[in-house]
Amino acid sequence: MRKVSTFNLLAIVLGVAFLYLPIAVLVIYSFNASRLVSVWGGWSTRWYAELINDAPLVESALVSLRLAFVAASAATILGTLAALALVRFGRFRGRLLFAAMIYAPLVMPEVITGLSLLLLFVAVAVDRGFWTVAAAHTTMAMCFVTVIVQSRLVDFDVSLEEAAMDLGASPLRTFLSVTLPLILPAIAAAWMLAFALSLDDLVLASFTTGPGATTLPIRIYSEVRLGVKPEMNAVCTIMVGVVGVAVVAASLFGKLGATRGTPGPLG
């Protein structure tokens, strides 16, 4: 029905190429046998093999994974509650401040959020480490979760909930057997995206971390500051792979929900 003009096609092709070429270059170089990044020494997996023996790197990868799991789970619970509050509860006292606090962290420069959280942790004299970073990541990620779940809540038909309640279901029952199944795909997608956000974050973690909680991005950053290294190409390629799979899975989840969850014309 729509034909794509040459100009439009060109815009799409160039745009996608621009977005993906740098990542492709990174992946290709990670298989370069030569230590010098500029010299192509043939295909090799030696940098991947060397990673496994790099104990501190493996350890910080494990820290990052645990951290992402904790932060994503907490952020998903808090963010979903916040989305329910914003969409279903109409005007409650302090709603404006609440909404402002949901949207502001999405655009706030991370150096500011990081600095302010650190000063909070110092003021209340908590030992910084795994849990302070987890709290920081939860705060940032829950706002993204809220926005995702909120858009799903806005989309679906409120009359479904009303029908359940008119038939005598308690609000809690209504939530568990009507609302929750309908928004579950969005919640699953939000969890995965929160996981990816936490896994990637450098700035917040740098400010709020303490001894024994060096995350993978902090480790990578301290290495690449000084220049390009083949081992880092390999680490980054692995991370791109993991996140890529997670995001594609998340979007398939969302798609599944979109076809299954949306009521037909007859509701």
Binding site: L19, Y29, V107, P109, I112, T139, V154, V228, M239, V248
Partner: protein, 303 residues
């Protein structure tokens, strides 16, 4: 809907839990930054005075307030480095956002003109890089922009340049990094509005003899203005405070303000100065942030 109100206790929990979390981890920390920006640097742990000593009662409170000072803000005013750093950040953010708009608009427009199925695929393709680490994407550019990296190889091979130019540690590299990293933030909101554009309006204008550039200028662009505003704010605000991109791709001559905060904090260990720089940055960004929030809050209600 009415019965939700009966659910007073649950309702309380649903609102209060995230509310309390955001108060504790977003709002209160800001107030602490504000407070510390008025404190003085000290060689102590924590490295600033005065520390609020609630145990000392009223006297402690009085001592606390008399200890506050505007010294850090005066410092910001007296050292031109800070001022230049702010100017540079806003300048880079403004130009980068303009470039993003010019590059992102045709892409978003083209995606919106494809079939439903392709739109879903292309939108996913646009978002995917955003979810891979910013650090990694910038690192990928460090590979490409090296003096003997692939970009210069291509340029020399095509005889576009004779001598391989230096890319890293220049403002050009910062612009490349920013445009690359923020492109999804520009394309997505633009696509969201362009997708809903009623094509019969464009046909009507064409039928009435309007030339194509004029249709774009008079119909398409005004109808997509909300997407333009959202995209511009979503890019401009975080770019001003960007740290990773200028730190890895830029030179060391004049830092952007995000780097200044980082250096004051980690390098000079001057927490009050870092806080003052942050407070001024928030003041600078308050107008675009409020605009963005209005936009974001209206969005779900419109649908």
């Amino acid at each position: 809907m009415r019965r939700w109100r009966e659910l007073f206790s649950w309702r309380g929990l649903v609102v209060r839990l995230p509310y309390a979390w955001l108060l504790a981890f977003f709002l209160v920390p800001f107030l602490i930054v504000l407070k510390i920006s008025l404190a003085q640097t000290a060689i102590a742990q924590p490295p600033y005075t005065p520390v609020l000593d609630l145990a000392a009662g009223w006297r402690g409170l009085a001592a606390f307030f008399s200890g506050l000072s505007l010294d850090n803000y005066l410092l910001l005013g007296s050292d031109p480095l800070y001022f230049l750093s702010y100017v540079k950040s806003v300048e880079i953010a403004a130009f980068a956002t303009l470039m993003l708009l010019l590059i992102g608009y045709p892409i978003a427009y083209a995606i919106a003109r494809t079939s439903r199925r392709w739109q879903a695929v292309l939108v996913l393709l646009t978002v995917l890089p955003f979810w891979t680490s910013l650090l990694i994407r910038i690192y990928a550019w460090m590979n490409i922009l090296q003096r003997d990296g692939p970009l210069n190889d291509v340029l020399v091979a095509l005889a576009i340049v004779r001598e391989p130019p230096v890319w890293l540690a220049t403002d050009t590299a910062i612009y490349i990094g920013i445009v690359y990293s923020y492109l999804p933030f520009m394309v997505l909101p633009l696509h969201a509005t362009l997708e809903k554009l009623d094509e019969t309006l464009l046909e009507a204008a064409a039928d009435l003899g309007c030339p194509r550039w004029k249709i774009f200028w008079l119909v398409t662009l005004p109808l997509s203005s909300s997407g333009v505003v959202a995209g511009v704010l979503l890019c401009f605000i975080p770019i001003v405070g960007e740290f990773v991109i200028p730190d890895l791709l830029g030179g060391s001559r004049l830092p952007m303000i995000g780097q200044t905060i980082w250096m004051e904090f980690f390098g000079n260990k001057d927490w009050p100065a870092a806080s003052a720089v942050a407070v001024v940055l928030v003041c600078l960004l308050v107008t675009p942030i409020v605009l963005y929030q209005n936009q974001a809050m209206r969005a779900p209600e419109r649908e």
